[in-house]
């Protein structure tokens, strides 16, 4: 009986942990996996984005 009750409580704890994880997911992570490449040379060496020519940075992820 004791074992069964403990198992039930453990299951409830696991579910609660999942709920709690969702609650904190809105916060920003401090770092991200740095896996995008340094692929576009500056000064119009690659594409023709303004950011290659001293203009504003576009929204590319540069993958």
């Amino acid at each position: 009986m004791l074992v069964v009750q403990v198992r039930k409580v453990a299951a409830a704890l696991a579910i609660t942990a999942l709920i709690g994880g969702g609650a904190t997911s809105a916060a920003f992570a401090q770092t991200h996996r740095h896996h995008h490449h340094h692929g576009i040379p500056q000064h119009n060496g690659g594409d023709h984005d303004s950011d290659n020519n001293g203009g504003p940075s576009d929204g590319d992820g540069n993958t």
Binding site: M1, A27, F28, A29, S50, D51, G54, S57, G61, N62
Partner: protein
């Protein structure tokens, strides 16, 4: 089972159940701090993005649709399309000197962009692009756009040629597409251009 064992088991069960209930309440309160039943509440420095009010594109504005995407970028009269990466749209406003004094760009998500770490991704990416002195001014998540939810940063940087820009950069997650919208202007022009940039970001669809 002896009576003492049963009593011990009951006490343990009640104590753990109470603890579980407490954790559940804390979790729910954290997920819905404003008591809202639908949609995640905005997080971070939301005051810096209080101008974000999704609405209808003003009359006279130009709207350009990204190829193969539902995303649409709108720009005020006088702004012109500019060259950019394939599949993206860029609209700029130039001074008589040719210097860019207003900039709008929409680019489909290309891989590593995620709402969860958008601020660090964006600043890291800007450094990769050769931008210097990039300063994060504000960041917020779970912001409501016309067609999805966005994570936004407000930051300021110096380009490789020494030009200084301030930008709003948002990763907007829509129903079928995730797109980055960037709105930028030199700090010296920010007060003049910000209302139009804010409007363009607010009206963005993805």
């Amino acid at each position: 089972m002896k009576p003492t064992t049963a009593m011990t088991a009951r006490i343990i069960t009640i104590a753990l159940s109470t603890f579980v209930a407490f954790l559940a309440l804390v979790a729910v309160a954290g997920a819905h701090p404003e008591g809202r039943d639908s949609g995640a509440p905005a997080t971070g420095d939301t005051a810096a993005f209080a101008w974000l009010h999704p609405g209808v594109v003003p009359a006279g504005w130009t709207t350009r649709r990204l190829a193969g995407s539902p995303a649409r970028l709108s720009a005020p009269p006088g702004w012109r399309a500019a060259a950019g990466d394939p599949g993206t749209e860029t609209m700029v406003l130039r001074a008589p000197s040719g210097h860019i004094i207003g900039y709008l760009n929409a680019t489909p998500r290309q891989g590593g962009e995620r709402a969860a770490d958008w601020p660090s991704f964006r600043l890291d990416h800007n450094r990769d692009e050769g931008l210097r002195k990039d300063t994060l001014l504000a960041a917020a998540g779970d912001l409501q756009f016309r067609s999805g939810t966005g994570s936004c940063v407000l930051d300021s940087y110096t380009t490789s040629t020494g030009n200084r820009y301030r930008e709003i950069a948002c990763l907007v997650v829509g129903r079928t597409a995730t797109t980055v919208i960037v709105a930028a202007a030199p700090p010296s022009r920010w007060a003049a251009e910000a209302p139009l940039l804010d409007r363009a970001v607010s009206d963005f669809i993805t």
